[in-house]
């Protein structure tokens, strides 16, 4: 399977910061095929998070075209974008961002519930997702009762349980030690290799970049390097 999951042409994004325009993206072209594992890297202000947000339907470009899974995002309303995110994208955030009052199982289940999946199927799929990440024992714990690494694994379970066409991870290792980061990246690589999950990570961390099969380096809002990593 090698269909195009993301297609971006001439993406431009300008922010106004105290009346001063800041060019976050300057005509970026970017495409991503199914089952790719890409890392977006670059210094702060290079535009990697902006690109990730536009691809994920969380932000809108000022110019250019972005398509996700063959669907152009620009004409979609906020509601349609929310529905698209729910259906097609899995998010893993830097600070895990689990719902603090829900247990691990309930957190994973909740996203399926928003999708309208029935109770029995929901519980089964959420349980399986946690089990696949080695979290069965912790499924009744709330985020506050788990370590950072465990929370991030629950966040990954939440992101993959819906079988999204694209998994976006924004600085997934920022709050983790190197050992936990390694475990986490092994998990993502495994998902990519065994399930064909298409993954984009935005990161500063060379260890995280090392797990990606393709590295896109941005600088000053443009793609400086886009290279496929060979073993």
């Amino acid at each position: 399977m090698s269909g195009e999951v993301v297609m971006a042409r001439g993406l431009t994004r300008v922010y106004q910061e105290e009346a001063v325009p800041v060019h976050a993206l300057r005509g970026v072209d970017f495409s991503l095929s199914s089952s790719e594992f890409v890392s977006l890297s670059g210094p702060s202000g290079s535009g990697k998070s902006t690109l990730l947000n536009i691809v994920g339907g969380l932000d809108r470009q000022d110019e250019g075209i972005i398509e996700l899974d063959g669907e152009e995002l620009a004409p979609l309303s906020e509601g349609d974008l929310a529905a698209l995110r729910l259906r097609k994208i899995g998010f893993v955030f830097q600070a895990y961002n689990l719902v603090p009052v829900l247990s691990a199982l309930e957190n994973v289940e909740f996203i399926l519930q928003l999708q309208g999946v029935g109770s029995a199927e929901r519980k089964e799929r959420a349980g399986e997702a946690l089990k696949s990440l080695g979290l069965s024992e912790l499924q009744d714990r709330r985020p506050g009762e788990m370590s950072g690494g465990q929370q991030q694994r629950v966040a990954i379970a939440r992101a993959i349980v819906t079988n999204p066409v694209l998994l976006l991870a924004d600085e997934p290792s920022a709050n983790l030690d190197s050992e936990t980061t390694k475990e986490l990246m092994e998990l993502l690589r495994n998902l990519n290799e065994t399930q064909g999950m298409t993954i984009i990570t935005a990161t500063h961390d060379p260890m995280v970049m090392g797990y990606a099969k393709r590295q896109v380096h941005l600088r000053d809002g443009t793609v400086e390097r886009d290279e496929v990593v060979t073993d």
């Binding site: 961002n97 603090p100 009052v101 996203i111 519930q113 928003l114 309208g116 939440r158």
Partner: protein
Amino acid sequence: MSEIALGQKEQNFANRTKADSSSILLRLVQISWRNVWRNRRRTLLTAGGIIFAVWLLVFMRSFQGGVFAQMADISARAMPGHAQIQHPLYEEEPQVEHTVRESLAESRLLQTGRFDFVSSRVQGSAILSVGDKSTGGFVLGLEPKVEAQWSGLARNIKTGAYLAADGEAVIGEALARNLGAKLGDDLVILGTAKNGGIAAHAATIVGIFRSGSTELDRTLVQIPVGDFREAWSMEAEEAHMVVGVSTALLDSEEGIQIARNDPGEGVDLNHLAWQDLLPDVVQLTEMKDVSTNFMFYFICIIVVFSVVNAFMMLIYERTNEMGVLLALGMRPHQLLIQFQVEAFLISSLGLVLGFGLTAITVWPLMEYGMTLPQELLESYPPDMVAMFPERLHPTFNWEAMRTATVTILLGVQVAALIPSLRIFGMRPIEAIRAEN
């Protein structure tokens, strides 16, 4: 995957989303309930304001309701009774010839089945003399055996005894003092008879009462109704009013309406309920209700502001969390529902605890009664204070409970809605970046 298959997948997704909306609502309720306890102190402070507002309204209205019910009952038993039937003109023109037929008026009250006692009265002004002292006064002819069973005045005989036979009279304490009268003295009564002649009657003073009302104690004389009719040249069936007494009637709007509105059978009679006979008591009740309501709504405004403040803080603190949920695909209206459920749970908690507190403070007082503090007694007219019983018993006020429930629920929901509307202008990516 073909386009048809993709379309089918989208359709299935849409159908599932609609079908499972009740399940999402249950999950939102679960999240809301747990969120309520994330900041225990804030929740308890907000609920505390509601508890106090509820307690204030229901306790005060229950207390006042009990006081006023007893006061109305005592006032009614002091003189006018709980209902009267009069000649249609008697209320405006209390002339001796404006009479009703006793048997007809009594049957009107008795047929309602709501009066424990019914009796006739006749009354008129007269010159009262004992020895060489005279003064103007008011003579009331009544049925002593019936009135002795319910009349508060009959129980307030300070010297001697209540009327027992023809030829006897009981008079007020101040009147006795003014006339220099004592028990066993002859009281001479002179008035204008129905036929225009002189109504003259001599009675032996058998009792002196102290009613608590200065006016009654200074002017009133009670004699048997037969003596009055004879002296005033009235016929045996003639009465100026028929009085009905019933404790149950005080609490029964229906009974009051029956007494007030019974149209009669082709005979024009004036029906008066205790509210018509005791306008001062009604006015005082309404005045106290207004002041209690004012305090309640004032506290409600404070509660509403505290809820607005609590939800502003809450939304500020959870901006990041909301951003994540919106990013994952949750809709703003679902978040709004979650906050509204949280507001409902907080107000319900306050209402339940408020009613619980009210119940445990009101019920023992309903059972055992209480004495009124001196400061409170001073806020009532002295004549009314004299009518108060030794112990007052509140009556649980269900109407106040309904008012408190509706006002608090609506107030809190609206108060929570105002800051929650920010959700609709929230952009997920900016919300995620917000500092907690």
